[in-house]
Each structure stands twice: as structure tokens, then as C-alpha cells.
């Protein structure tokens, strides 16, 4: 089993390497980091700019192949290069990954579990009005881009705050800098977490709800649920213990990919709510023509896909005995 995974890992690692290389080369060819320096005050001399660009391996005049080789060599030693501002990409990387984790952990768990439960409930109550309304709402949530949801949430929160007369909902950053003391800090963090979490949970719950509803409908009339009922299990027990347990299997890869890929997938939420995580970095790096950061994020995303695939495989093997056979 371990060897099986190891082999898959090796092959997929190749894909990650290719993906990283493609990202770097495309970014190096299309982005021009020079603009970051030209507008500085006082304006640096062209020679200074070139020197800085060369130092950071960002000079567009250097052939892309030699830039790539230098970058790849550094990556192999664990050095992801420098940002246009001259910071270590690796350091910034860790900080932002942590920020994203704080934002995502709760929302992903609630969204995934909530979606699965919502979908199952709707499937069991198939064709009743609750099911119809929930399905329509789910489609509506999916039809709304996350940035619209996020901005709308901000607008409503602001109005609510005004109506209430105090700042109940916070919608910028991770916590208020003014908050002091452990409890104040925690409260402030919680306040800041609510709105972005709602945006993330709504989206995930809608998506997984629809999927789970479909897979659950497939097992609702399956032979093995009928057998479970024929044993004397009440309908609810048969559906939960036998139906849901099997119906959730096709969702595992989705849940795994979602959980992992959310790291870079929250660009909108992070950007709009001012969280300095990976998603925001992704957008900012392109906006500032920051080639090394773009490449780092690209590599990271590709590696995440790999991790997600592994996670899905492991979950599959753990939860589905059929996959353990050859």
C-alpha cells in the first residue's frame, strides 16, 4: 500500500515540476517588474534599477532560460527568490499560509460537513418544498460569484452596524489593532472571522449539498438500503448508516481537493476582507508583476493539487474497502 502511494507520488511530482516550470516561464515572459521601481520617489537611475533587477533575478533583458535555470537552482536549495521589494519569498510564504489556515479551517469543515448533511436531508425529503427551495437557493449561491457575495455581506454588515449603533460585524483584516488582552483579541478575531466565513461556508455548502443530494438519491432506493430495512433497521438508521456512508464516497475526492485548494482559492474573500493570506498574495503578485512570487504561488498550487490527490486516495482507501483490493 505504501509503495503504491510512493509510486503515484513520484509520477505526480513530475507534473508539479512541469507546472512550476510552466508558471515561471510564462510569468517571466509576460510580466515586467521594472515598473515597480520607475515610479519610486526619488526615481532610481536606470543602472540602479537594472542592478536591483539582476540581484533579484528579475531582469526581463536576461534570457528567460538563464533566469529559469538560476531560479530552478535556487528552488532546489529551498530558496524561492526575492520579492520585488527585496524580501525573502520563503518567509512571506509561511506567514501567509498561516493566515489562510486561520481563515479557512473552520469554514471548510463547517461548509463540507454542512453541505453533506444538507444534501442528504434534501435527498431524503426529495420533492418536498424544503428540498425545492434548498436546491434553488444552492443554485443561486453558486450563480453568485464569491466577490459579489463578499461585497454584499460587507454592505449589509455596515448597514446593520449603523442600525445597531455599534460595530458588531468587522469586515477588514484579521483583528483590530486596538484590541488588547487575550479575551479582547480573541473576541476581535472572532468578529473578523464571521463575515468571510459566511461567504466561504455558503459557497461550499451549496456546492456539496447539490453533489450529495445527487449521490444520496442514487442510494435511496438501492438494494442494500432495502436489505438494511429488511433486517429491521428503522428507515432513518438504514439511510444514515448504510445510505449516507456509501453516498459520501463519490464526494471524497471533491472534499479533499476543495479543502486543499481553498488555500489559493480564497483570493476574492481575502482580498475583499483584507486578510493577508495566500489568495491575496496570488492576486497582488500578478498586479505588481512580481515574477518570483507568481512562480512560488504557482508551484504551491500545483503541490496542493498533488497533496489533495494523495489525501483523496488515502480517504478512499480508509473509507472504501473495495479500493483496498487490487
Amino acid at each position: 500500500m505504501v509503495r503504491h502511494f510512493a509510486r503515484g507520488l513520484a509520477a505526480n511530482l513530475m507534473l508539479v515540476v512541469i507546472a512550476g516550470a510552466v508558471t515561471y516561464v510564462l510569468a517571466a515572459l509576460t510580466l515586467d517588474p521594472r515598473s515597480n521601481y520607475v515610479n519610486r520617489n526619488p526615481p532610481p537611475s536606470p543602472a540602479e534599477i537594472t542592478a536591483t533587477l539582476d540581484a533579484y533575478n528579475l531582469n526581463p533583458d536576461t534570457p528567460v532560460v538563464s533566469r529559469f535555470l538560476r531560479w530552478a537552482g535556487d528552488v532546489l536549495t529551498g530558496d524561492l527568490g526575492r520579492t520585488v521589494a527585496g524580501e525573502e519569498v520563503t518567509e512571506e510564504f509561511g506567514r501567509r499560509a498561516l493566515t489562510s489556515t486561520r481563515l479557512l479551517l473552520l469554514a471548510t469543515v463547517v461548509g463540507s460537513v454542512g453541505g453533506v448533511l444538507l444534501g442528504s436531508w434534501n435527498a431524503v425529503r426529495h420533492e418536498r418544498w424544503t428540498d425545492r427551495v434548498a436546491t434553488l437557493l444552492s443554485f443561486a449561491v453558486l450563480a453568485t460569484p464569491v466577490f459579489v457575495t463578499a461585497v454584499a455581506l460587507q454592505l449589509w454588515a455596515r448597514n446593520l452596524n449603523e442600525a445597531i449603533g455599534s460595530t458588531v460585524f468587522e469586515y477588514t483584516g484579521e483583528y483590530s489593532p486596538g484590541a488588547t488582552g487575550t479575551w479582547d483579541r480573541l473576541l476581535s478575531r472572532a468578529q473578523h472571522l464571521v463575515l468571510p466565513s459566511i461567504a466561504l461556508v455558503a459557497f461550499q455548502a451549496a456546492l456539496f449539498g447539490l453533489y450529495q443530494r445527487n449521490t444520496m438519491l442514487d442510494v435511496l432506493h438501492s438494494d442494500f438500503v432495502r436489505t438494511a430495512r429488511a433486517k429491521g433497521l428503522p428507515r432513518r438508521t438504514a439511510l444514515l448508516r448504510h445510505g449516507l456512508r456509501v453516498a459520501v464516497l463519490p464526494l471524497l475526492p471533491l472534499l479533499a481537493y476543495n479543502a486543499v485548494l481553498m488555500f489559493t482559492g480564497t483570493a476574492f474573500v481575502e482580498k475583499i476582507f483584507g486578510w493577508h493570506g495566500m489568495g491575496e498574495w496570488l492576486v497582488d503578485s500578478v498586479l505588481t508583476d512580481d515574477v518570483n512570487v507568481v512562480a512560488a504561488v504557482g508551484l504551491f498550487t500545483a503541490a496542493l493539487v498533488l497533496v489533495a490527490g494523495l489525501l483523496a486516495d488515502v480517504l478512499h482507501v480508509v473509507l472504501d474497502p473495495r479500493s483496498r483490493a487490487s
Partner: protein, 1026 residues
């Protein structure tokens, strides 16, 4: 794209049953059905309306509206919505309505083009990879993997700096390039499974070139999935593009898309909310309408999808009917109270075409320890009646009548009370043993669950009891098997487990619904024995539901024949089998092929059971009954004893059989003349030329593990050193259990495209090695060798009318078009169908008619060799008889040679001249049919013959079965020496010295008599009892 939802992937592509018909008027009719279904779906209708409105607005709106999206009205900055500017204006004075319309137009355009490009790429890559397989497939999969790993959103963002007014198509290319993979993989997977579908295999066997197969059979099967997927892809692409535009990637001012409009409105949203809400609302309605249309299309196009599944409409009415219903069933012999008493049970199931009265008043009683059989064709209502007794019907079903379990009324009982009865006093064994057990729980868990549902047992006690139960049903090594999962068990083992679960709580009644269908004949006999044991152990009453008359002869005490929802004849099993008095029963009994007799013809019951929606007036059998008279059409005859008939029948003419000058049961059905042996056939075998020669053929399948880097972990021995020949005008039957390699052998001959390993033998047809011929010769070979597959309906492309299906081989092999029509009518006539059938679609045919079409197609090119792969095993017994008769007639009339694969010895006896018995990849006995059935030599043949049930109750009960030990062996782990010895009854009778020979030496297939060979060291007639 990681940041973008992919509702397209919400759909799992269904391989079959999907829509999109091939030709003209049929398409129109199909279209009407889809439209009608769509119209009934209010959300889809709303979606279409909104989409149409938005499209109109985006394209016609700018022509009528006074403002252009580039106009700036300096006199009205940041105006709220109103007269001149409908949606108001922004800080620069641009008219928001005009800008939004422009954005909508661009978003729609990008969405449509992206979806189109994406679907096209996915279809091409998916079908090519899925159909070609091998390296093409691996490269395509790696490509899909790579594109999935690429950071899509990031790359589009990076590249979008190159997008300007002239190169906006680049954006479409980028979006499509990074979102086709999931659809592509789905198409690839579906194509792969379609390739295994019988109708695609049939086309390949006809010699249709690969690209034509993809175009004609594969892409149409995918059409509805692709339509739905593309619709949802439009929505996804619109959202993806909007997301990019929100960050300023993509369209650059002055051109805009909806995302850009929303982005520029966001900073002002608190003060001027309309700048945000109007474009956002537009985007939302656009995407929502697309998703709703996609969902509606799926429900309308895919009949198996959720919307059309049995849903709930209202609470079922379960009315207990007072027990004063007139008793029509016969009284039980003794005075003991029945374990189960069913009175006037009626079940109606509401469906799309109307209410189906599946069960229309049946009554029976079962005493403790008694075995009652309910027999009938599929659709007779047998299984529905069982589910009604268990209370397991969908909630929409209406159940009336009375079901008393040991005196307690079950109909109308609260669900919570019913739960305590189910699995306790009343238990059930289902047909499909694989799907009936939950795949993710171990066998032991599922048995202990049954125990603990009704008893307070601790874990250890429950496990102990589960082991006892597994031992009771004859499972070897129960302490090990208890940890096995259903997929690790053979079909017979799973059915044993199901029986163990059913007897777990010492039930009073066990209902077994087709408990042995789809099992091998040997396993079937074992399962019947286990059921008998179970009854003895628990003293329970047993109700066996089956379509197989022969099966119940030796087991049942009483039998009820069911037809169109009612019993039409019932009585003690001996009486009914010996003196059937309802023409339907007479027909069924005459239709059963026998392994113990030479039959000149079977009596087929022509026609099909009436649709439960459209029952004829009078007797429901009237349309198929050769005795039908006017009196049969006035009112449905009741089930009662008539005249001198010894048991109740529902036939007004049944007492005529008992009169001196009355009807003769043997002459009710006209027995067709099927070809007897012609002069040429009687010619000595040695004088006839060899048509098919298989020479030391070996086919091993490697077992691989891993997806990207595959490695070989073992070998399945499917066909191992097999030699045989088929001469002109003779039929060779390959018989054996599943896994014996008989189908593999047939496929090697049917599809020679797979190359053989060196030294793996040869297959010669008319003297030509089919693995060493040119492409052109191979196509010619298709004319000489044709294939008929097991599942008649699956072998026909559901999207083509019968005429096109029959025309396909002719067209492929260059028949002139004007001859084709004539040949099609000729073929239809040949297999006993009307010319009108040419316009029908496969789903409009019954199983028997569909198999006739398959036979006609196989005969279209006038082949010399017909390969028949279980040609009747999917058919009901009455239909099976008529197809068997047809095959026998055609064989004689057309001087065909046939290679027949069957698990049913009776079918082999009826059709074949010679029989080859296969076990674990080897032929163990090969001889003329008469010798094999009269003087079987190999112990395996004895076992098979002994296991085949006879439709004669007294003989069947008296017969002693030769026991077959254990389960079929794993073809991946072949033992040394004789591979049959671990299951061999004769091995047990041998002395240790003799046994050593079996253990050390692999027996060769050697002659035991003239033209009779067996692969056994101790071949000969059965020793001891048999």
C-alpha cells in the same frame, strides 16, 4: 480553475439511456418528449425566459437605448436610477444601463465561446483517448493531469496582460484551455465504458471502422451529457471571467464585461448601491438561469436522473381490509394456523404513464415449515407482492388487503411496529447478492447488525452467534470470512451470507425473491440446499419467488402461478406439474428445455404479458392463449376449482381437459417444426471440412496495480492450452461455470485484434490464422464470423431504429444501397418479425424481439460461423423457448456452424451437436452431445448434470445430487496437478496412492471412447450413487 466552481462536474455521465436520437422524425418526437418534460419543470421554464430576456437585452437593447456604453453625460454625474438614465450613472457620467448591457453582451459571448471550445476539446480528447486506449489514453490522461495541476487562475491572470481589444479571443482560449479537463475525463471514462457496451462491441464485430463507431454510436450516446455540461460550462465561464475582470484582468477599458462593471461600482457601493446591485443582479440572473436550464435539461434528457425517480407525492394509504374476503385459495391441509396468511393483496404504484396495478388481489397461506413457490414471468408482480408483505414499497404505493403474520395484521401497521417484525419474525433474501449487501461493511458487521436490531446482545456474543450462523449456511472458515467484505466473496458466498442474515433471529417466515437467479447451476443447487437447511433449522415457512419452474419442482410443497398481477393456477406442486390446466402453465412447462431429455421442439408461449396499464377485458392471458374463445373475453375468470380439475385455475375452459373427448394439454400449443438433422449433417463428421480450429490457445490476463506507473502483480489464467474444432454445419457448446474461460475463448475468436503472445497457440478460421492476416482480410473475416451477445436490448444502439441497425453491417461491407432495404425485410421475415419493425426503436421491443433482431443482424452478411454468447440467458422461459426454436431452425435451414457459450446444460443439449465442458481455462470433456449427456466421463460433468434441476417434482426430490465441494477456484491462483481435485467428488473416493497422481500430474485431455475425450486420470461413469 481553482477559484471557480464547476457545476458541470455535478453531473455524472450516464453511459446508457441517454438521449439524442439518430434520425429525422424520431428526433422530432424525442424532442417533443424532452420539451414536454421541460415545460413541466417551472424552474427550467423560468431559466429559459430569463436567459432569452437577457440575451435580447444584451443584443437588441443597445440599438433602442439612447445611451452608448462609451457616452459620458457630464450633466448627470452619480445620478440615482431614474428617467433619463434607467440604472443611474457613475462618477464619470457613464450610463450604467448601457454599460451593463455591454458587459452582459461580452460576458455572454465569452461564456458561450468558452463553453463551445471547452466541450469540443473535451469531446475530441475524451473520445479518442477512451476509444483508442493504450498509449494514446495514457498520454491523454497525463495531459489532463498536467492541466489540472497547472494553477489556472494564476496563469490566466498572468497571461491576461496580453489581452486587449483585438486579442480578446485569447481570453476565451485561455479559459477553455484551463477548464476542459474534468469534462474531458468524464467523456473519456464514459467512452471507455461504452466501448465495453454490447452495442458497441457488436458494431466492432461487424467490421465497422473505429472512427465510424465513435461518430455513430459513441458521440450520440454522449450527446445529452455534453449538452447539459456545456450549458453549465457557460455559467462557469461567465463567473470565471467575471472574477478575473473584477481584479482588472481581461477586458480593458473602454470595453467591459459584467465583472468589470461590478468592480468599478464596488468602491461606491455604500453611497450609490445601484452601481453594485444592478450589474451584480444581472450576473446572478444570467448564471442562475443557465444553471436552472442545465438542471432542467438533465431531468428531461436523462430518464434515470433524480427528477424521474420514484418520488413521494402523498402519504400512502394502507387500509386493512376486513378478513371476510371470499376465500379463493385452497385451504391448507392441516388445521395448524398458517405462519403467513395473505388475503386479497392489492398493490398500485403511481407512475408517469398512469397507475400501475401491479398486484391485483392474491391470496395464499403458508404453514410453518412449508415451502410455497410463486412462479411467473418478469413483470407478473411477484417481487412487488413480496415487497408489499415486507412493507418495503415506496411510500407512494397503495397497498390494500390483509397480510397476517402468525395472526397479526401487518398491513396498516405503524412503521415503528413494522420495524420490529422485519428481520425478526419475517425476513427476506433478495436476488442481487452483490448490490444487496452494503459494500463498505464487513460480512460479520452486517450479520451482527441484523442480530442486534432485535436483541440486546453484547459484541462478543453477537460475533459468536454470527460465526454460528455462517457455519450453519455452510461457509468454510467462518471466523475468517466474518471479516471479509462483500466484494471479496463469490456470488454463492454472498447469497449464503444473505441467508444467514435472514435466519439470524429465527424467523417464522422467510421470503426468498429469486434467490438463485444469476448464479451458476452448481451454486444454485447449493443455495437451494442451504435454504432447505435454513428452513429445517428455524422451522420457518418459506416463500420462494422465481421465474424458473424447474427450480421449484424439487423444493416446493405448493406452487402458485402468477400472471399479470394475479394467480392463475395453484395447487400442490406434484399436481400442478403433472396436470397443469391453465394454458399459461401448460405453456411454461412445455417451454422449459431439459438436460435429461432429447427434445425435438419446445412449446413457446408467443407474445408478451400485457402492459399493467392496459389490461385486456376478460382473461389477461387471452391475447397469447391458443384456446381463447369468446367467453374468455367477458370478464376476468376467478381463481377457483372447476369441474373435475383437482386444483384451482383461473381459466373458464380448464375443465374441458378433464372430459373424455376434451382438450389434450399436450396439444394446446402448436409445436413448431424445428429442423431435424439433414442429410449433410448426418454425413460423417470426418468428411465435413473444419471451419474453426483452435490450436493450443492460451490467454492469460495480467493483473496490474497502480494508475500512472503500472506494475504487474499476477496473472489470471483465462484460457489455458485449449484445442478444439468446429466443422461445417455443426454446433459446439462450451459449458461451464462463470470464470471457466468459456466467454474469453469466444471473445478471442470474435475479436482477433488483440495479439497473442508467441507460443500462445493459433485460431484458424477456414484454414486462415486470424491473428496473422491483413487488415483487409480481417474485414472480410467479419462477414464469415458473426456474434450474438447475451443481453438482447443492450446489444442494440438505443438511438437507432431497427432498420438502421440491420443496415449497418450491409452498409459497412459495401452493399449497394438499393439492395439494403430489400435485405432488411428479408432478414426481418427470416427471424419472424414484421417489416413494420424496421421503424421501431430497441426500447419498443420485448427481450425476445430484440434478440431476434440481434440474430437477424448477425445473419445479414450470410456468415458461416455464428458465435452465440449465452443467447437466451437474459430471457424469460416462454420467450427463451421461441428464440431457441428459431436458432435451431435457422441452423438447419442456413447450414450454419455455431459456437455456443452457455451455462445452461439444457440449452446446450437442445442446440448443440457437440459439447465441450470447461473448467478453469481447460476443456475437461469433449464429445458429441449425446455421449456427454448419456455417458459423462469427467467428475465435473457429473456434478454439472446432477446440479441441473428437472421440472419433475417426484424425480427431482428422489434424485441424489453429486456434491460439488467448495467454491469456484480463483483463476489467478491455479493449483498444480489436477486443478479440479479440491472440488472433486471422485477424489474423495480414491486411495491415497491414486490421489497422489491427481496431486502431481495435470491430466491431459485423452480419449476415453471413440470421439469422446476427458481430462481425468480416473475418467469414467459416475461411481456410487447418482
Amino acid at each position: 480553475m481553482s477559484t471557480v466552481p464547476d457545476p458541470g462536474a455535478l453531473l455524472s455521465p450516464a453511459g446508457d439511456g441517454l438521449a439524442a436520437d439518430g434520425s429525422g422524425q424520431r428526433t422530432a418526437r424525442r424532442g417533443k418528449v424532452v420539451l414536454m418534460r421541460l415545460r413541466r419543470n417551472p424552474w427550467a421554464v423560468a431559466g429559459f425566459a430569463v436567459l432569452a430576456f437577457l440575451t435580447l437585452l444584451a443584443n437588441a437593447g443597445p440599438l433602442l437605448y439612447p445611451w452608448d456604453h462609451t457616452d459620458l453625460d457630464y450633466t448627470a454625474l452619480q445620478q440615482p436610477p431614474g428617467g433619463t438614465h434607467w440604472f443611474g450613472t457613475d462618477a464619470a457620467g457613464a450610463d450604467l444601463f448601457a454599460v451593463t448591457m455591454r458587459g452582459l453582451q461580452k460576458s455572454l459571448l465569452v461564456g458561450l465561446l468558452t463553453a463551445l471550445a471547452c466541450t469540443t476539446v473535451a469531446t475530441v480528447v475524451g473520445t479518442v483517448a477512451g476509444y483508442a486506449g493504450g498509449w494514446t489514453d495514457r498520454v491523454a490522461l497525463a495531459l489532463i493531469g498536467l492541466f489540472l495541476v497547472l494553477p489556472g487562475f494564476l496563469l490566466v491572470a498572468v497571461m491576461s496582460t496580453l489581452v486587449d481589444e483585438t486579442t480578446w479571443l485569447l481570453l476565451v482560449v485561455l479559459l477553455a484551455a484551463l477548464s476542459w479537463m474534468i469534462t474531458g475525463r468524464a467523456v473519456r471514462n464514459t467512452t471507455r465504458s461504452l466501448k465495453q457496451h454490447d452495442f458497441v462491441r457488436a458494431a466492432v464485430c461487424l467490421g465497422v471502422p473505429g472512427h465510424t463507431v465513435v461518430r455513430r454510436h459513441v458521440v450520440p450516446a454522449l450527446a445529452s451529457f455534453l449538452i447539459i455540461d456545456a450549458t453549465l460550462q457557460v455559467g462557469s465561464a461567465v463567473i470565471a471571467e467575471a472574477g478575473l475582470a473584477y481584479f482588472g484582468f481581461g477586458f480593458q477599458p473602454p470595453d467591459v464585461s459584467l465583472g468589470g462593471v461590478i468592480a468599478s461600482g464596488t468602491p461606491y457601493a455604500t453611497v450609490y448601491p445601484w452601481l453594485f446591485y444592478f450589474p451584480a443582479g444581472c450576473l446572478l440572473s444570467l448564471c442562475l438561469s443557465l444553471f436552472l436550464i442545465g438542471d432542467g435539461l438533465r431531468a428531461a434528457l436523462d430518464p434515470a436522473s433524480a427528477r424521474n425517480r420514484p418520488g413521494r407525492t402523498r402519504r400512502a394509504s394502507r387500509a386493512a381490509v376486513a378478513a371476510d374476503v371470499p376465500r379463493t385459495a385452497l385451504q391448507p391441509a392441516s388445521g395448524a394456523p398458517p405462519a403467513l396468511a395473505v388475503r386479497d393483496l392489492r398493490v398500485s404504484l403511481p407512475g408517469e404513464g398512469g397507475t400501475v396495478h401491479a398486484v391485483r388481489g392474491i391470496s395464499y397461506e403458508v404453514l410453518p415449515g412449508e415451502v410455497v413457490a410463486i412462479v411467473g414471468e418478469s413483470g407478473a408482480g411477484k417481487s412487488v407482492s413480496a415487497a408489499a408483505i415486507m412493507g418495503l414499497l415506496p411510500e407512494t404505493a397503495e397497498v390494500a388487503g390483509s397480510v397476517r403474520l402468525a395472526g397479526r395484521e401487518l398491513i396498516g401497521l405503524e412503521e415503528s411496529h413494522l420495524c420490529r417484525v422485519r428481520g425478526d419474525a419475517l425476513s427476506m433474501v433478495f436476488q442481487h447478492s452483490l448490490t444487496s449487501l452494503t459494500p463498505v461493511y464487513s460480512v460479520g458487521y452486517q450479520i451482527t447488525e441484523a442480530l442486534r436490531a432485535h436483541r440486546r446482545l453484547d459484541r462478543a456474543t453477537a460475533r459468536q452467534r454470527a460465526v454460528e450462523l455462517l457455519t450453519a449456511v455452510g461457509i468454510p472458515e467462518p471466523t475468517r470470512t466474518i471479516h471479509a467484505f462483500p466484494h471479496e466473496c463469490s456470488g454463492g458466498m454472498r447469497q449464503r451470507v444473505a441467508i444467514a442474515m435472514a435466519i439470524a433471529n429465527d424467523p417464522k417466515v422467510i421470503i426468498a425473491d429469486e434467490p438463485t437467479t444469476a448464479l451458476d447451476v452448481t451454486t444454485q443447487a447449493q443455495i437451494l440446499d442451504v435454504l432447505k437447511t435454513a428452513r429445517t433449522l428455524t422451522g420457518a415457512a418459506l416463500v420462494i419467488i422465481t421465474h424458473d419452474l424447474a427450480l421449484v419442482a424439487g423444493v416446493a410443497d405448493r406452487v402458485h402461478v402468477m400472471y399479470a398481477g394475479r394467480f392463475v393456477e395453484e395447487g400442490p406442486v406434484d399436481d400442478v406439474f403433472a396436470r397443469p390446466r391453465m394454458p399459461y402453465t401448460i405453456g411454461l412447462l412445455g417451454a422449459v428445455p431439459r438436460a435429461d431429455l432429447d427434445q425435438s421442439a419446445l412449446t413457446p408461449v408467443e407474445g408478451t404479458p400485457p402492459s399493467p396499464l392496459l389490461l385486456p377485458d376478460g382473461c389477461p392471458f387471452v391475447l397469447r392463449c391458443p384456446l381463447a374463445a369468446d367467453v374468455c373475453r367477458d370478464g376476468e375468470p376467478a381463481l377457483r376449482t372447476r369441474g373435475n380439475v383437482t386444483h384451482p385455475t383461473a381459466c373458464v375452459r380448464s375443465d374441458e381437459f378433464e372430459r373424455e373427448d376434451g382438450l389434450d394439454p399436450a396439444r394446446v400449443f402448436s409445436v413448431p417444426r424445428t429442423g431435424r438433422r439433414t442429410e449433410t449433417e448426418r454425413r460423417k463428421r470426418a468428411e465435413r471440412p473444419v471451419l474453426l480450429e483452435v490450436d493450443h490457445l492460451v490467454r492469460h490476463f495480467p493483473v496490474y496495480r497502480g494508475t500512472v506507473l503500472r506494475r504487474r502483480v499476477g496473472t489470471v489464467t483465462a484460457v489455458d492450452d485449449v484445442s478444439l474444432d468446429v466443422r461445417e454445419k455443426e454446433t459446439l457448446a462450451l459449458v461451464g461455470e462463470s470464470g471457466s474461460g468459456k466467454s474469453t475463448l469466444l471473445n478471442e475468436i470474435a475479436d482477433p485484434r488483440k495479439t497473442l503472445d508467441p507460443g500462445a497457440g493459433r485460431v484458424l478460421i477456414a484454414g486462415r490464422d486470424i491473428h496473422r492476416i491483413t487488415h483487409r482480410q480481417r474485414r472480410r473475416l467479419c462477414r464469415d464470423v458473426q456474434l450474438v451477445l447475451q443481453d438482447p436490448v443492450a446489444s442494440l444502439d438505443p438511438r437507432l431504429p431497427i432498420g438502421d441497425i440491420l443496415g449497418e453491417p450491409l452498409l459497412t461491407h459495401g452493399w449497394p444501397r438499393d439492395h439494403i432495404g430489400l435485405r432488411i425485410s428479408e432478414l426481418l421475415d427470416l427471424v419472424g418479425l414484421d417489416a413494420a419493425h424496421a421503424d421501431r426503436f430497441p426500447r419498443e421491443l420485448s427481450g425476445g424481439q430484440a434478440q431476434r433482431v440481434n440474430i437477424a443482424r448477425a445473419l445479414a452478411l450470410k456468415p458461416r460461423l455464428l458465435l452465440l454468447d449465452e443467447p437466451v440467458s437474459a430471457l424469460d422461459v416462454s420467450v427463451q423457448a421461441s428464440v431457441l426454436n428459431l436458432l435451431r431452425t435457422l441452423k438447419a435451414e442456413l447450414s450454419l456452424s455455431c459456437l455456443l457459450v452457455t451455462h445452461d446444460l439444457a440449452v446446450a443439449r437442445y442446440l448443440a451437436d457437440r459439447v465441450a465442458v470447461m473448467h478453469l481455462g481447460r476443456i475437461v470433456e469433449l464429445a458429441p452431445a449425446t455421449s456427454v449427456f448419456a455417458q459423462p466421463s469427467h467428475p465435473y460433468t457429473h456434478v454439472l448434470l446432477s446440479a441441473a434441476p428437472l421440472p419433475e417434482p417426484q424425480r427431482e426430490r428422489a434424485r441424489q445430487h453429486v456434491p460439488l465441494l467448495g467454491e469456484p477456484l480463483d483463476p489467478a491462483a491455479v493449483p498444480t496437478g489436477c486443478r479440479f481435485r479440491s472440488r472433486c467428488p471422485r477424489y474423495l473416493e480414491l486411495s491415497p496412492g491414486e490421489r497422489r497422481r491427481c496431486e502431481d500430474q495435470d491430466p491431459d485431455l485423452l480419449g476415453v471412447a471413440e470421439d469422446h475425450a476427458a481430462a481425468c486420470h480416473f475418467a469414467g461413469p459416475p461411481r456410487g450413487n447418482a
